[in-house]
């Protein structure tokens, strides 16, 4: 938790210079900024929640998300993590008694799997 030094000053932290908040509330005097920085290091996301308290006992919570990564890279990361999470969740929820299915990663994926072993099937099914 960091407290801002006043209007227009540079705020510390990894997000660099603070951007002034546009809008009518900017002209309310005697306000203070409270910054809550949540550093999600793995995603390189910084979530800044600003509380502005004015003289009229009104406040608002503009939430800005600063990205240190380019949007494409961030989108790729979210996509990849979604894939990983979906795969892990599916693997975890598959019942152990479920019949195994031939993987698409196998070189034989496009061909039908033999339903029985040699000399074990009825002659009609071979």
């Amino acid at each position: 938790m960091r407290r801002g030094a006043g209007r227009g000053g540079k705020r510390g932290g990894k997000c660099g210079q603070n951007e002034e908040i546009a809008g009518p509330w900017r002209y309310v005097g005697n306000y203070r900024h409270y910054y809550l920085f949540i550093f999600l290091n793995s995603l390189d996301l910084i979530c800044k929640i600003t509380y502005d308290f004015g003289v009229q006992e009104m406040c608002f919570l503009p939430i800005q998300i600063h990205q240190r990564l380019p949007p494409m890279k961030l989108a790729l990361r979210i996509f990849v993590l979604t894939i990983v999470a979906a795969g892990v969740a599916a693997a975890a929820t598959t019942p152990r008694t479920a019949p195994p299915i031939a993987s698409h990663q196998s070189a034989t994926a496009s061909m039908p799997g033999p339903g029985c072993g040699p000399y074990m099937c009825p002659p009609d099914t071979q």
């Binding site: 793995s42 990983v84 979906a86 070189a107 496009s110 033999p114 040699p118 000399y119």
Partner: protein, 291 residues
């Protein structure tokens, strides 16, 4: 368009994409950097005509009805070989991603190899052995593939979360291979979890999974076709954490001066110290007596 025709067209498109991928992979000489991936693509493309031949032959009773046993053994041999090759592909991707940090790469490969071994042992230990005879082969193959799929997801998660630290570009081929296999693994697991005996080959789930495979293949083709960005010399701050870990790992793996470990009954340092101390004491005594 009927769903059967759509599925057939998607399967044809998949095989065509595999063929294009194999061609581009060898043309761009990626097989020198990822030999296991090259073998995987080769086995993928080469086994298809062979399997089609014997599959067709079993319905025509060619070779005195020997086509079915041959098909069975080729099918499962190729399946197991694919799973084993995928293990090596994972190791190659891991090595390539950590190539900028040789110390960490050496240490990481040791740990990764142990993880692979543990994964294989766990896979074999969980085989139910409910089938006897030749039908045990599919059980082993399915378990191997499942364990390598989990390993691929772990590898993809690791690369995704440590891209910045490793200075790994999203356009790097190592990341591309891992992403493609991650999509395929995820697709396999989703299909397995939603599978029921009533599921047909034209079920919507099948279409979704086939689409994911096509997306993965299209992405690989794009990775191969587009020029890979040249790896810039890595610049990290001297106090960087990963640089320090790399130094530590390099020092751990350094095979420099060898130290002889003396047996218990041999010459000891304390004996040498005692001998020096005795000689000094005698020298002091002799000097004191002389004065």
């Amino acid at each position: 368009m009927p769903s059967q025709t759509a599925m057939f067209l998607m399967s044809v498109a998949e095989f065509a994409l595999w063929a294009v991928l194999g061609f581009l992979f060898w043309k761009k000489k990626f097989h020198l950097q990822f030999p296991a991936m090259g073998y995987y693509l080769a086995i993928r493309i080469a086994s298809m005509p062979l399997l089609v031949f014997f599959f067709y032959g079993q319905s025509r009773h060619w070779f005195h009805n020997l086509c079915f046993p041959i098909y069975f053994f080729i099918y499962w041999t190729v399946y197991i070989a694919s799973a084993v090759l995928l293990y090596f592909v994972c190791i190659e991707v891991f090595r390539s991603a950590l190539s900028a940090f040789p110390g960490l790469m050496k240490l990481g490969l040791v740990i990764f190899s142990w993880a692979v071994l543990a994964s294989v042992i766990v896979s074999f230990s969980t085989i139910t052995f409910s089938h006897k005879g030749f039908m045990l082969i599919p059980d082993i193959a399915f378990r191997l593939m499942r364990s390598v799929s989990i390993l691929e997801l772990c590898l993809l998660g690791f690369l995704c979360l440590s891209m910045n630290a490793l200075r790994l570009s999203a356009r790097d081929m190592a990341f591309g291979i891992s992403l493609g296999f991650g999509i395929m693994s995820s697709s396999d697991f989703i299909l397995a979890s939603l599978w029921s005996p009533k599921t047909s080959l034209t079920d919507p789930v099948q279409f979704v999974c086939e689409s994911m495979i096509l997306v993965a293949l299209g992405m690989w083709v794009a990775y191969c076709a587009l020029p890979e960005p040249a790896r810039q010399p890595l610049m990290v701050p001297a106090n960087s954490l990963i640089f320090r870990w790399n130094e530590i790992a390099t020092a751990l793996g350094h095979t420099g001066t060898q130290v002889a470990v003396q047996p218990a009954g041999g010459f000891r340092l304390t004996e040498a110290e005692n001998a020096v101390e005795e000689s000094l004491t005698q020298d002091l005594k002799s000097r004191a007596s002389a004065t």
